[in-house]
């Protein structure tokens, strides 16, 4: 298909249109709203025959997705920030019922003070809810990840909900050119939805969400943990198939100039793109630098990260979130990957870009400069006015 121009939200809406999900629950919140608006146009024009439910809250949107997915429908929704926080209770329930719901999250800071711009505090707040979390760097990835999300969620070895995360305003609102997949190829790639144990199969009645005592709860959580472990091979399998279809190669992490690098920065989302430009600049000046983008954040690719960081002099892990009283979530994951694999580069944490604070090429050069000079502290607050 030929390249078209769209923002990340429109690209996600286009992927949904091509998939034609059975049920879409919607509730507006910036910077996600464009998705549910664009999708409602498709519904209004009969381009999809999705049951489009305008709920009265995000809590109900997720509840609707849960009911619909349990009933046997392919179900989608989108949210951000406060909306995701409002769903918190239901995120756990969706995952524990093993429902392959796909949700786009336009990452946005949480109140207070209220702020509509990008950071990862919403996604990190839901980190342990049992959802697969995939982060996109740009519009192309927002679209591609959306398509792959359905395959991963619905894979029989996984059967878990998937969050497709895009940086609010940066990916959701910036117009970029990207290459969508042909409609019929999307249909073939994503395939017909075959629900497992649907409620609407009333001749074989099933119970969803029963009451668990200590004698079973732990086993159910264990099964969820095992399903999460299956995501890594399934992700690779789906990505390989996607590459065959599109030529676009995706892995759990993306390494940029890492093999011979001495100093490496690790980030998620749009910042990874800026980091690549920084690496290009610094390489020209003779610095041995590289960067790693973490695409799959849950489950976390510990092995891949550790392998990529072997032999490095220093590593800076970029967290677009504060974990009050602790190091950042990405940092603690990267450091445990290193520790378990007995590699010990100096590893420091950079908190950056909170509430949509712009982080450009010059800002990120500081990270490499401080790594090289050995002046970086354990936790650094990049660009904060003191």
């Amino acid at each position: 298909m030929k390249r078209i121009a769209a923002n990340g939200d429109q690209a996600v809406a286009l992927s949904w249109k091509q998939i034609n999900p059975d049920v879409c629950a919607s509730y507006p919140i910036t910077p996600q709203t464009i998705i549910v608006e664009a999708f409602s146009d498709y519904v209004a024009d009969g381009e999809v025959d999705t049951e489009y439910v305008c709920s009265e809250s995000e809590h109900s949107s997720m509840s609707i997705c849960i009911g619909a997915a349990a009933a046997g429908a392919r179900s989608v929704t989108a949210t951000a920030s406060a909306g995701l926080a409002f769903m918190w209770e239901m995120l756990y329930i969706a995952a524990s019922m093993r429902l392959p719901i796909v949700m786009t999250v336009a990452n946005r800071a949480l109140s207070g003070p209220i702020n509509i711009h990008c950071d990862h505090s919403d996604a990190m707040g839901s980190r342990d809810s049992g959802w697969v979390q995939i982060f996109a760097e740009n519009v192309q990835e927002a679209y591609d990840n959306s398509l792959m999300s359905f395959r991963i969620a619905e894979h029989p070895d996984v059967h878990l909900p998937v969050m497709n995360c895009l940086d609010g305003f940066i990916v959701t609102h910036a117009i970029e050119s990207f290459t969508p997949v042909e409609d019929d190829q999307v249909k073939k790639f994503v395939g017909e939805y075959k629900p497992l144990l649907p409620l609407l199969d009333w001749k074989n009645p099933h119970s969803y969400g029963p009451f668990d005592m200590p004698d079973y709860y732990y086993e159910h959580k264990y099964q969820q943990a095992m399903a999460m472990n299956n995501v890594i091979p399934v992700f690779k399998e789906v990505a390989a198939e996607f590459e065959k279809l599109t030529g676009r190669k995706y892995d759990l992490i993306e390494k940029y100039m890492v093999d011979d690098a001495e100093y490496v920065a690790v980030a998620m989302g749009s910042t990874a793109g800026t980091l690549k430009a920084v690496v290009d600049d610094l390489r020209k000046e003779g610095h041995k630098v590289g960067c790693i983008k973490v695409r799959l954040f849950r489950p976390f690719p510990y092995q891949e990260i550790a392998k990529a960081l072997e032999g490095k002099k220093a590593v800076a892990v970029m967290d677009r979130v504060i974990s009050f009283g602790a190091v950042g979530p990405l940092f603690s994951d990267v450091r445990s990957a290193e520790f378990d694999n007995r590699i010990h580069p100096r590893t420091v944490n950079y908190v950056y870009g909170l509430g949509g604070r712009d982080v450009g090429v010059e800002d990120l050069k500081v990270v490499f400069r401080e790594m090289e000079a050995g002046t970086a502290k354990n936790i650094n607050y990049l660009g904060v006015k003191q």
Binding site: D22, V53, H59, I64, A71, M90, W202, P210
Partner: protein
């Protein structure tokens, strides 16, 4: 209307073996509701006594598809199920004519679940919402809810030396729901199974959202002998504390015993009969609370007169 004998021949949708208290009215209500349709049903259950007692893994009392997701969202959950049904039917993947029902306690209806209920009704999903109203949060140990009667002693509004139980009257959720101008809303009582099943049947066939508020005595929380549950629900109706009526496409109609009372064919019993039957009102027997008892009686009378007025239009 089918007979009891015919009903006993129907398939059992909620089986024995659940862990509800002896004398609990909730399984009685649910069975009566489930007898009101022969169509396949999917049940969505809110967190509460009824849910925890019928679903303890790996056992289940349910012979029909059943889902519990949380306390506050049973109406949103059934919205999802019903939306799936609509679309899969449209796409030709489902052929059967199916029905959808929510069972929720008064906490899950009047309080925390109200937003989801209101939203689901406004959106017009086809489902019957049944509130099993035992006038408190029983599952967590008899705490006050928006349905608790004024003067009742609960564990969060206990009668003490200064405060005689709950200070507020319950909100009138049936009228609030009716104000959504949905196709059908009604109040029922398990002692009159015929009236209840007829109303549930109308709710199932309303073609849109329907609401059934059922007085559901709880021997634990109300403090009475567990053999008296059905008598207790009857007494609620006879005192006009719990009038039986329906709102059917804009028309208000008083039904069954309540209709006989309204027509002067049966006695309207004093509220004192109700208060003295239960331990939760024991403190009100002290003459120092006679003004409060009068207030409760006056409120019952006022609401009863209002209902009669509504039913005459």
């Amino acid at each position: 209307m089918i007979s009891i004998k015919e009903m006993t021949a129907k398939p059992v949708r909620l089986t024995e073996g659940h862990r509800l208290c002896a004398g609990c009215s909730e399984p009685v209500v649910a069975k009566q509701v489930l007898l009101a349709t022969d169509k396949p049903v999917v049940v969505s259950n809110a967190t509460g006594c009824f849910e925890v007692s019928t679903s303890g893994y790996p056992y289940s009392s349910w012979n029909v598809p059943w889902i519990h997701s949380a306390f506050e969202n049973t109406a949103a959950t059934i919205s999802g199920v019903e939306s799936a049904y609509r679309v899969l039917k449209r796409k030709g993947k489902i052929k059967d004519d199916m029905r959808f029902v929510c069972f929720a306690g008064d906490g899950a209806t009047y309080d925390i679940g109200f937003q989801a209920l209101s939203g689901a009704i406004e959106r017009g999903h086809q489902f019957l919402f049944v509130c099993m109203n035992n006038e408190a949060y029983m599952n967590t140990g008899i705490q006050r809810s928006g349905a608790t009667e004024k003067g009742a002693s609960t564990t969060t509004c206990p009668s003490g030396t200064c405060i005689p139980g709950k200070r507020e009257f319950p909100k009138d959720i049936t009228k609030i729901v009716a104000a959504h101008e949905l196709p059908y809303a009604a109040q029922a009582s398990p002692h009159n199974w015929k009236d209840l099943i007829e109303k549930a049947a109308k709710g199932f066939e309303a073609g849109g959202p329907a609401f059934l508020n059922v007085i559901s005595p709880c021997p634990r929380g109300w403090r009475y002998d567990s053999a008296l549950t059905i008598d207790m629900s009857k007494l609620a109706v006879e005192t006009c504390l719990w009038p039986l009526y329906e709102y059917d496409n804009g028309k208000w109609r008083i039904t069954a015993e309540s209709k006989r009372i309204a027509e002067g064919k049966a006695e309207k019993r004093p509220i004192m009969d109700w208060l003295k039957s239960q331990g939760r009102f024991k403190h009100l027997m002290d003459p120092k609370h006679s003004a409060l008892v009068e207030e409760i009686q006056a409120n019952v009378d006022r609401k009863w007169d209002e209902l009669i007025r509504l039913s005459k239009h």
